[in-house]
Amino acid sequence: MFDLFLQFVLNGLVNGTFYALSALGLTLIFGLMRLVNFAHGEFYMMGGILGWVVTSQLGLDFFSGLVVVVAVMAAFGWLLDRFIIVRVRDKGPEPGILLTIGLAIFLTNTALLLVGTAPHKVVAPVSSAPLLLGPVIITKVRIFAVAVSILAIVGARLLIQKTKLGRAMRATFQDATAASLVGINTASIYASTFALGSALAATSGMLLGSIYVAQASIGGLISLKAFVVVILGGMGNFAGAILGGLILGVAEALWGGYVQTGTVDMVGFALVILILFFRPYGLFSIRAERA
């Protein structure tokens, strides 16, 4: 009985890590740019599809492929910000929401047109054979994915907290005018942030595409789950998104394990309603903190 509980918690933690990684780009863009990116799930989808193209079609190994995908998606995010997002900057939240919803529809349908509706596989670097760890079962590829997720999360955190670029980012979003007065090129900072968010979403898309499948129409579902995670942790709160992801993963696993598997998707949304009711700024949010 206890073994079963351990297995549920482990499943939940693994899923939670994936949720955290897939929500990170969303919370980052919101926290730093105040832009609610409804096309986040589509960036994830693009990561998965590109991952399939580079590993299955072009025959690259997973890591070289990942580098290519991250580079392509970062460039894509950069261009998107410089040419499109810039037009709705400082115009309030609604234009940004409408723009990203439109972008999401455009990206999904373009992907459907190019690669079709069939699910695709990203070739994983390690095997998916079961691995017994005492009483619980996990696969090598999942351990690998969790490790890469943690690396990506830590890497993003270090980039924002420790590097010059990260400092410039935080300065820009605290006060853009003051930042440009001290010589920061704010336009390129906005674009870098958007590029970083896109690259993170694509990383999770490719990584999870190697465990599940990559599919052109997956974006909507991913966005929904990512929003749950971000609201749980507090919009724009980096550490909150990670904890939010883990909480959602474990809560879903325990609900599915002991109550009902058919209703697990309800768990996240029930949590969101409760949070909005009792702690509208998220579980871990300190109002003044941003990213």
Partner: protein
């Protein structure tokens, strides 16, 4: 005087135009082209296109030509209703084929009843669709109940499965399939270990499979489509679940095998169609489908192909492409398709065609057993 001539000329031109237009009959088709079952919806459209292309090629210069007007119903009742409204009002199609998900088809059934336009579904399998007294609706597909009755005994007797765990997608098709199969299997002497459901588009089944593994069943019954099903059987191997697996859904397809990889080996599936069915009609269909799309047809490709052929047969029997005439011609259907002969009962339920039990072996569905779908 001049005006009269002009008017006469105009009438002549337009009359000839309308005669010309009447030679092309539009057929509406509603399938999910986006969303979680888009992949299957697209195969149905592909099958339908083959059927139309065949007829148009045969029609020659003077025969009736057909044109498909495809709408995306997204498997959602609301979208399917607007698609049906659009097809009837704007495109003025005299007949509709669709929809995919049973819940969406139910929604569209009220629209076709309102406008009195016949509709044929080759896919929606919820048993009660043809029990609703809607005389404009016909179904050229097996229901969950018909499939369960045909195969429950075989599963219990031949595969020697006693204790069975049921896993199904959380919608009317998955729940319906599980309730029909579990009651038929219990009647044949099987035992139900547990029934679990998951949502469309779910990707992680570890929690669900952990519960199944703990129950130690002899067999696992799965009602799922290609995407969900292939991920599910792969994860079964990952969590070390060694029970026999059998399923309903689009499992006997090349794509399923490609996605599930080695995990597909040895799985049994009860399906109305497999590309390995040995019939001359099927050989022709498989060849044409492969030439057009460079892949093997699946369950839904055949469903789309059959439904369109049944409709076009009815239009030819009707002699005139009006909703009423087509509707009156549909009950006389006697169509030989890749998986057998299709006829309709008084209620519009198709029967007479075959369903097969296949075993996936080395990437191909081998036919283990075959049963003819009979009316009640």
């Amino acid at each position: 005087m001049k005006k009269t001539i002009l008017a006469a000329a105009l009438t002549a031109c337009c009359a000839s135009l309308s005669v010309h237009a009447a030679e092309t009959v539009k057929i509406g088709l509603i399938e999910p082209l986006t969303g979680s079952v888009a992949y299957n919806g697209v195969s149905a459209v592909n099958g339908a296109k083959i059927a139309v292309a065949e007829r148009n090629a045969k029609a020659g210069e003077n025969g009736v030509k057909y044109e498909l007007v495809v709408e995306d119903g997204q498997c959602q009742p609301s979208k399917t209703v607007s698609a049906a409204e659009k097809l009837i009002q704007k495109d003025q199609v005299p007949v509709i084929v669709g929809a995919f998900c049973s819940s969406a088809t139910i929604a569209a059934m009220s629209v076709i009843d309102k406008y009195q336009v016949p509709m044929v579904s080759g896919i929606s399998s919820k048993s009660d669709l043809t029990e609703r007294g809607n005389k404009w609706f016909f179904r050229s597909a097996e229901t969950d109940g018909l499939l369960a009755r045909a195969f429950a005994k075989i599963l219990v007797d031949q595969l020697k499965l006693k204790k069975i765990a049921y896993i199904g997608v959380n919608d009317d098709w998955g729940r319906g399939g599980i309730s029909e199969f579990s009651s038929q299997i219990e009647a044949a002497g099987g035992e139900t270990a547990m029934k679990l459901y998951f949502d469309h588009g779910a990707t992680d089944f570890y929690t669900l499979l952990t519960r199944v593994r703990a129950a130690k069943p002899d067999g696992v019954f799965v009602a799922a489509e290609t995407q969900d099903g292939s991920i599910l059987v792969k994860q079964m191997k990952e969590v070390g679940l060694e029970s026999q697996v059998f399923g309903v859904g689009s499992w006997a397809t090349a794509d399923f095998v490609k996605l599930a990889g080695e995990a597909a080996e040895g799985i049994h599936a009860a399906v109305p169609y497999a590309y390995t069915i040995d019939r001359p009609e099927n050989k022709v269909f498989v060849k044409e489908y492969q030439e057009a799309y460079n892949e093997l047809p699946g369950k839904y490709s055949a469903a789309g192909y059959n439904a369109l052929n049944i409709v076009m047969d009815a239009i030819e029997r009707a002699g005139e492409a009006t909703p009423q005439k087509i509707r009156d011609a549909l009950p006389a259907t006697d169509y030989k398709g890749p998986n057998g002969t299709f006829k309709f009962t008084d209620k519009g339920q198709g029967y007479g065609f075959d369903a097969v039990l296949v075993k996936l072996h080395e990437g191909a569905p081998q036919i283990v057993d075959r049963a003819t779908v009979t009316p009640e």
